[in-house]
Amino acid sequence: MNFQRTASRILSVNGVPIAIALVIVVIIFQIMSPVFLTPGSVRDYINNAIPILLLTVGVAIVIVAGGIDLSVGTVAGLSAGTTMWTLVNGAPTLVAVLTGVGTGLVFGLFNGLMITRFGINDFIVTLATLNIAGGLLIVLTEQVPLQGVTTPGFSDIVYGNVFGIPSAFWIAAIIFVLMQFFLVKTVFGRRIFAIGIAPSAANVAGVNVERVRLGTFVLSGVLAGAAGVLLASRLGSVQAFLGSGYEFIAIAGAVLGGVSLAGGRGSVWAAVAGGLMLATLQQGLRLNGVDPVYFSIVTGLCIVAGVVFDRRIQQLALSGIRKRRRTGSAPPPPDTSQEAHLLRTGKQD
């Protein structure tokens, strides 16, 4: 009994279940193919995953605030494109990096303004900008071939070495720490959770809901821009369809990590763990000779699994509270049907 309560409490901490699952999956893959955990292999596949991890964190922040951003994938692709484009035109590395991040910023700002100023649904606006950014990248790649750049310092963004660890790891780690600090320790960060849990309550409490929502989309855009720069630096060339489909992996990673699609629950670590889980699954499947096309189905399954697990955890927490309230009597099984949810909360989803 006591053990069960402790276990459920630990499991309901955001990101813990996925971290445990990640360790188990790594052990299974290590048993299945012994080359899985060699340093070179781990470094490569995490290096490949870092841009998508950045997108996952960006999407996670938007989801915590109760929104969704479908445009991150193609915006990252376009940012990679603009970064390469400035380099091809002879700009120094710093200018290129700023251009890439700026591209993401512009798209994030556009998404946010459309959603907050004009009141359009977030998934429609970001679906439209998904297409616009993807189309712009196609047009950009038709103008000049985005490759063959030898600007000094540019490939060092990813392949450079600091204290024996690739610089992309450092960049990602710094961004993750900053984001987590921002989410948990700043007023703005706490407001993101507040508007995700109950926008009207946050509004009554004096939070400028629209401004906070705008902020989350800008953040997600900037992170997509940074992911684009890292992509360009790693690949050295940019193709027309770079980034399309990444939004799917990013959302799946965030949800799998325990970021609740209902808003208000999640952390950077949870998102990173979820993203790493997907990257690990991809690598493990590849090492075991599974056709990469299966990964899209795995990703879809992960979204479903993440949502189901999130509901279980919430039920567990709920029943725990009920148990403590009416000591002695066994709690009734929680009615999870939509009707019951509607009757209980009167909330439409």
Partner: protein, 347 residues
């Protein structure tokens, strides 16, 4: 009171009233936009109004039109179906493969329709049983369906299924003079869905669920079942569109349906379907699909490279939603004013 009500409309000039009507009724707004496009192009681009061009335009808009009608039903019931394009490709693949296995034509068509309905049921179950948000559930379904199609085709388009009947289904061989079968199918789909929405209990339920889930539930409607049925309708419409696509394209590549979901959503939204649910029209979806096709056709004729198409469609989607919101606000104001006039308070 009666005098105020009688005199109040006279104060508004005809232009005012027509303008208000256009803004209130999105379908009329789209019609006005279409006529405007035609008028502008009549002076600047005579090629656009040539019968052969208009005929091609109508023919190319049919697939998106059928998808948009299914999407409209889902939007009315308060959902959204991002998987509709991929479902279309999957159903096209099922039809093509069944033909290759030597099944008779009608069996292949039934297999495709069943696949569409199954995907719809899957979407509905993900949403109502697991409680996933609509766009996440259908996004996951998009991943599943495209994954299945890639595994199945191994990236090589399905070919070698074209029998003469398929050329007719795809509209490559016309039925009578210039009348093609897809046109008749689109008309049938429109009549059926329009009939369901307009004059059956199910149609009323779709609107009720989309307007207010809580309200619908409290008046005894099985909300979950109605929502699932809306997704079955969109799955079936995707199957019909997929069968036509299989005939028209003469091969089925795995990425056949890419980008169709956004076109279907854009066409439905241009036609006045509200993303918040409870508003939408089949006629609007038809006009929306034609408007979308006309716009793409125009920019092609002007000489804009086709690579800009994605950007244009994205921009059109945003503009359509914006126009829709303005129309909703204006119709709210007009309704309020009318209510005030009826109560005898000068607006």
């Amino acid at each position: 009171m009666s005098t105020t009500a009688a005199t109040a409309p006279k104060k508004n000039s005809l232009v005012d009233r027509v303008g208000a009507r256009l803004l209130v009724d999105p379908t009329l707004g789209v019609l006005a936009l279409l006529i405007l496009i035609c008028l502008v192009s009549a002076f600047t681009l005579p090629v656009f109004l040539e019968p052969s061009n208009l005929y091609n335009l109508l023919n190319t808009s049919l697939v998106v039109m059928i998808l948009a009608m299914g999407m409209t039903v889902v939007l009315i019931s308060g959902g959204i179906d991002l998987s509709i394009g991929t479902t279309m490709a999957l159903c096209a693949g099922v039809a093509a493969t069944s033909m290759k296995f030597g099944l008779p034509l009608f069996a292949a068509l039934i297999a495709a329709l069943a696949t569409g309905a199954l995907v719809g049921i899957g979407n509905g179950l993900l949403i109502t049983r697991l409680g996933l948000p609509d766009f996440i559930a259908t996004l996951a379904m998009l991943g599943f369906a495209s994954g299945i199609l890639y595994i199945w085709t191994k990236g090589v388009p399905i070919i070698g299924y074209m029998v003469p009947e398929f050329y007719v289904i795809g509209g490559l061989t016309p039925l009578l003079a210039s009348l093609t079968l897809p046109m008749i199918i689109a008309l049938l789909v429109a009549l059926v869905l329009g009939g369901v929405l307009g004059s059956t209990r199910l149609g009323t339920y779709f609107f009720a669920v989309g307007s207010s889930k809580t309200g619908a539930m409290q008046s005894g409607i099985r909300v979950d079942r109605i929502r699932t049925q809306a997704y079955i309708v969109s799955g079936l419409s995707a199957a019909v569109a997929g069968i036509i696509m299989a005939g028209r394209n003469t091969n089925v590549p795995a990425d056949l349906g890419n980008g169709y979901e956004i076109q279907a959503i854009a066409a439905a939204v241009i036609g006045g379907a509200a993303l918040s649910g409870g508003r939408g029209r089949i006629l609007g979806a038809i006009l929306g699909a034609i408007t979308l096709a006309a716009t793409v056709n125009l920019i092609n004729l002007v000489g804009v490279p086709s690579s800009y198409q994605k950007i244009v469609i994205g921009a059109i989607l945003i503009l359509a939603v914006l126009a829709n919101r303005i129309s909703a606000i204006v119709s709210g104001i007009v309704r309020q004013r009318r209510a005030l006039v009826l109560e005898g308070i000068p607006a």
